[in-house]
Amino acid sequence: MENVGIFTAAARLVERDLKVIFRHVSEALNPLVFFVVVATLFPLATSPDAALLRDMAPGVVWVAALLSSTLALDSLFKADMDDGTMEQLALSPQPLAWLLLAKIVTHWVVSGLPLVLIAPLVARGFFLPTEAILPMMLALALGTPTLSLIGAVGAALTAGVRRGGALLSLLVLPLSLPTMIFGARATDLAGLGEDPSGPLYLLAALLFLTLSLAPLAAAAAIRISLD
């Protein structure tokens, strides 16, 4: 067997994951559609009043993003656990945490990045002021990877559990609250015409914290789920 470096290994893993995902594009799009549908529920459940919707917009965007990213987690490790790919990854000479990070990044590119891109549409539907759109996208770009990373730990913990969907949400949602609070606050501040840099810095700090720690915890959890 040829000995590949960690970057080559990660690149091949990303390539493989993308291939697998694009064979089932409609499945990959589900979280995105879910995001839009959840956002649509709010005006229908409350009222179409523009002032009310504008006040709610940051909260709605972030709650929908949080739910949609939690929903997408189910597919993160499940298929690889079932068909034995994960065992091969765990046995490979490259550190498992690093490989999982590659998987998480791929997952975010497919399920998180589209949210960032479609969020302006939803935000306009909620009459969020134009100048708040860019800070909101920045907050989502910083926050959704954190959600994916925290979620990966939960997905790794529940990977061996049958019907772990509701359990996964129960584990992940409380841990994701700080990200949601800072993200919604940044969007809110930008909507009020104030400087959102404070919460954005906090989001960035959370991103780097989870980026450095979550893959390690996920790798430990995967090893536990495997035996």
Binding site: P174, L175, L202
Partner: protein
Amino acid sequence: MWKAFVRWFHRMASPPHFYAAASRWTPWFFWSAIIVIAICAYGGLVLAPADYQQGDGFRIIYAHVPSAWMSLFVYVNMAIAAAIGLIWRIKLAHAVAASCAPIGASFTFLALATGSIWGKPMWGTWWVWDARLTSELILLFLYIGYMALRSAMEEPSRADRASAVLAIVGVVNVPIIHYSVVWWNTLHQGPTVSKIGEPSITWAMLWPMLGMMVGFMLFFGAILLTRVRGEVLARERNSKWIKEVAVS
């Protein structure tokens, strides 16, 4: 000194030894908890003067503050026990972590319930999105998640290690969650909630509360030892020494 402690620690990691020791200690913890709590309840409910603003209503702090404090203390305890179990592969430590969760969840629930009862006369409603109450509620969710993960896994050794990872992740997150909630709260509502004048609390009010904390700790010790004994019995039910203990 250190060596003696390590030797003691290793001996305690053996289930039969721990079981015997825990059986001896439990009554000591239990009775000292009863005595301390009784004395402090008298001190807090009878001897302490009524608050000039809240009247006798403030006296619920003698149950509320210690249980809120214990809810965090037990979580940290649980995470430490889980880490010990994960790192040194000590099964007994996992049993301790497993026993901590329901106790901690009960303390958290007690803190929420007393906080809400206290809130009714003080704020006029049963629930306010106060930072402390909200973070207690999230702590309760964390406890529930921990217990749900544990019960979702059939194999005990896997449940032990998976929930240990969750407890460690949780304990890293608890301060972040707490401060994010505090920050969220101070931005969304002004400091309308006037807490009791904590810095100027008189000694007559303070000592029963500190004593209550000690009493709650002792009570936690008694309940924890009892639960761990039960846990050890359930886990070691196929080993020989259990028969000797059960028969005698």
